[in-house]
Subunit: 356 residues, 4 copies
């Protein structure tokens, strides 16, 4: 029987991967409180559906940054996908394209932007950017992305240093030397195996909003800022030229104990005040999670780990199935909420859960 939901895919992936690799993708920083809280946060809101709306034609189709998406769900950037399955980034990108949504390629992908574009020429693609201390590499990555059809630069701002991921320290997880990570290879001189922290050490921890302004000026593509958890930074991102912001705590993998993504969403939405779309990243596992995020003001959400679980379990077809499950869950949630389209979901459709 095919998996019934995204959580079942996590179990399949755990069975398919070696424990080190599963731990790398599944784990978070420190005590993994934020990792758990990202998911728990959705349980703190309940839906408030409307009845007797004609929902025969309800559809999750939406738009983002001027283009269509089949549902308000993007594929989050994730590093090292070839560790999960040989289909790697290309397989995920093709599944996302086939599903009609946006794929985000990580700077720490096991492929270059150009190769990914060749592997998955169709579909909408964004390029996730980490800034190396060596700015030449960064400039080259942006240029390559722009020239091979990526539609936006997704700048991740929450990793000046790597979070302390104790699962990886405990398991001795390293990215094996035989798994190519092109941007890292460019930044280091001749590499073997490396830990994530060793890779992150090549990134620039001195970035400021000024650097964002420069990127906006030079990228030639819209810039989306990922990793915002508060109103001040949301306003700074907009003022610096970001065309969208993604509320995110890096899946609980950077600073343990920060706000759950969903808990940070309302203040960011209020601060941004409609100037740019807000994307929610972190903890989405159900179609009802998606509509809760919409009700709290998100234009769309990103899913990360569930995509990895689909890839690990069944390669590209697993990713396709995960996206199909989500599409159907979002469609049904919209219809049962009394909404024909994502744009109809409003703050009135959700209420704070009564405390136990």
């Amino acid at each position: 029987m095919p998996p019934l939901n995204l959580v079942e895919y996590e179990r399949l992936a755990e069975a398919a991967l070696d424990p080190q690799t599963f731990g790398y993708f599944a784990g978070g920083a420190g005590d993994e409180q934020t990792l758990a809280d990202n998911i728990a946060a959705f349980g703190r809101w309940v839906l408030r559906p409307r009845m007797l709306v004609d929902v025969g034609a309800a559809s999750p189709a939406s738009t983002l940054l001027g283009g269509p998406i089949s549902m308000p769900v993007l594929v989050a950037p994730t590093a090292f996908l070839r560790l999960a399955h040989p289909d790697g980034e290309g397989g995920v990108a093709r599944a996302a394209a086939a599903a009609g949504t946006i794929y985000c390629l990580s700077t720490l992908a096991t492929t270059t932007p150009a190769d990914l574009a060749r592997a998955s020429p169709g579909g909408r693609r964004w390029f996730q950017l980490y800034c190396y201390r060596d700015r030449g590499i960064t400039r080259s990555l942006v240029q390559q992305a722009r020239e091979t059809g990526f539609e936006a630069i997704l700048l991740t701002v929450d990793m000046p240093f790597s979070g302390r991921r104790e699962r990886d320290l405990r398991s001795g997880f390293v990215i094996p030397g035989e798994v190519e990570v092109p941007s890292f290879t460019s930044a280091s001189s001749g590499r073997g195996s490396a830990t994530l922290a060793e890779m992150v050490a090549l990134l620039d921890p001195t970035l400021t909003w000024r650097d964002l302004e420069d990127l906006v000026a030079e990228a030639g593509l819209p810039v989306v800022v990922k990793g915002i958890l508060g109103a001040e930074d949301a306003r700074l991102a907009v003022a610096s030229g970001a065309e969208a912001v993604a509320v995110s705590n890096h899946g609980g993998r950077q600073l343990d104990g920060v706000l759950a993504s969903l808990d940070a969403l309302p203040e960011v939405v209020e601060a941004v005040c409609g100037a740019v779309p807000v994307i929610l990243d972190g903890g989405v596992r159900r179609g009802t999670d998606v509509v809760k995020a919409l009700a709290l003001g998100a234009q769309a959400v990103m899913v990360g780990r569930p995509i990895v679980w689909g890839l690990a379990a069944q390669g590209e077809p697993g990713v396709a199935y995960v996206l199909a499950l989500l599409h159907e869950e979002v469609r049904l949630a919209l219809a049962l909420l009394g909404c024909v389209a994502p744009a109809q979901v409003s703050r009135r459709h959700v209420v704070r859960r009564a405390d136990d």
Copy 2:
């Protein structure tokens, strides 16, 4: 020893039924959060009793839609009761009649309204209505109910599509072809086994409040609207001619993550403002649950699964015993609350539970 309470009946039913069928009746949608929350919601309120009231003659007898009921507890509509026990809908209806309360027959019953009326001629009966895409079937069902002594039409408005019930998907639950579901047989052409989703696909997902107005105009019976979870819809129901509204989330079987029924009750009561009675459906397992709902403004409650458990465990006598247990629990709760009758229970008799 006979069961001491309704929860013990659930255990008996689980032993009596095959796992698929038990899962069908017991389960909810998605992660079953709403299923659990319907029950947990009662724990979020505590009773505030009054002392030294003469309660020697305390009684749960009440009235609803102009007629008497022995207690403010109705038998909720439930589909496919013959799957639980050969006594089926007729057995439940007779037990309800004998107990002095109202029985609600489901559109998806394993009997027709006319046959049910023959099987249980006495007692008060309501007919629960789903609207098929083929409106002729719907009109015929309403006419049959009206002509065979049903006192009201209970229109369920929360099922434009079937909720995603993963227990059933996992177990492969189908309604066997040999179990007759007359309304479905009329709506489909020659059937074998069918899933609930296949049955629901014949229902009309495009209904609007205008259709309710039409039903009110044409039914020739009072119309009660079941499935309301918010103030706006409660007001629309009253404005459209409903003579009562039932706060319900379909037992947690439609959209997982919505408000617990009891949590939605206060805003519906406030919105309706006394214009029509409000009925609470979902999570009632104890006499104290009943008086909590009364205190929050309900005129009566519905019980669904506990009736199924009584039926599954012991047939019609089991249902009678469940209703007798509830009657005694409600009587005792009223008396210990310092109330002689349901109408004396007021908002002052309940307070929000102090948080842990």
Copy 3:
């Protein structure tokens, strides 16, 4: 090693008693939510101690109804103590007298007030009253108590009917015919074994505040009203002549789902407004529980089950030890709170616990 605290005594008692009898004393009504909540309520408050107060001579000695008590802890009335241990009511009364506090004899004791007075002539004693339908018995009990040195009548007002105690129904618990319950014997004609519900059926469920006024007028002793859970009833008790009120839900044995005693205390204290002392009954297991109740406005607390556990485990010496443990715990709690005496404990010494 002697037990270190009252909870350890419960384990000893469970080992010493047959399961039916232990279940009778330990159990509550319905789902036993109130039974548990009485204890949990203390955890919802935390203490706010003061430092550098000279507490070298801190002492729990206090007063109540014009007389001294060695600590603000009374022995609650409990029925059928001879079921717990042959030392019975007399043993408990002697231990309470030796400890310097008040013993409350139950109407459903296994001894008469006169015999108890002979068994424990010293110490302060109150007589707990249930009103039988046969008012002659009630009058006779009050007269007997008055004439044998009881200082007050403690009228329990929360038992017009017996709560539904499912542990007893499950275990088939009855009070054996050979255990004499003198008041019940007077009220019934020739008895054998009887359930508690059968005994309670002889009590008068039609009592009103008018009957309290009559009792106050006729008793010739101060009347304390036990079983108050709200402001209205507290005011009525004072207006009817009660000289103290005891906030109580009958140890969670009557209506399950009511307010925890401690949660009801603040509103009763506010309503009574200093006119009479307020006693807290329910859930006290620690010296810190006692000072929390004092901080919320109680003049004293009652302990019931812990006394039974001491009695069951070790007879009269066990009760003495339980009271000694509590005395030392209260003394230490006062001292570490920066208070020299119970009267120094104020509302500033306690705060609502921060939510998890």
Copy 4:
């Protein structure tokens, strides 16, 4: 593999110590609610990081009472360290000195201030003071501390009597006669083994704020008051001449059920109003705990048990490793919070956790 965090050190220590000794260091008073709540309190706040701050040079270095500390983490005073490991107080003091932070020597140490100064001549040291009934001993201890390079007197004010530590009563824990506790030996006449309560009985339970004033006048060193849990006492401490206050409930070892240290911090910070630094003691296990305390107004925190676990597991090197782990965790937490130094952490960096 070396331990990854402080909690892992607790497991190592449990394996290294006999159960009585581990229980002594690990345990708290009564039901150990405060012991647990000290840790849980940190989970009730979440961090609110800022992005795109140049944190390349983020460092936890700070100052306290006019001198530098390598991080805002002090080593709390702990009694009887030689019970944990032969390296004892000297080993801990040397590790603290090497790590660049302050070591607090307990009055109930297994060494004298003078001997400790010889064992660890470098580094900053404070002397924790209990006042014996025999004030001569107290005066002598203060003089010795002053003359051997201790920089401050840390007066503990929350132990007029010993808390009721049931783990020790259960295990029969005593401080063996062969373990020298010099101050106790001075205060008693010829000792063998002794319980903590026997030792505490020699302390003076009649101390008042007047005694603090006298100490401030006579000590010749700054006086820090440890054991404050409320605004009134914080103001009194400042008014009496304290140069810093430490919010503490003695690690949950004195009065069980009091405020968690972190929960008391905000009111103390507000009351002190910047007049003196506030130190937070209790429950710190993570670098993120440290920054949460800073955000709520603490200038620094103390860690107690984790130091004991490091000592018990590996002697002085274990303490060094615990301090190194904390230093790195604080550095990383600061950087990921967008702060370059402890002084940049503000109330805006933390929010109350959304309730579940």
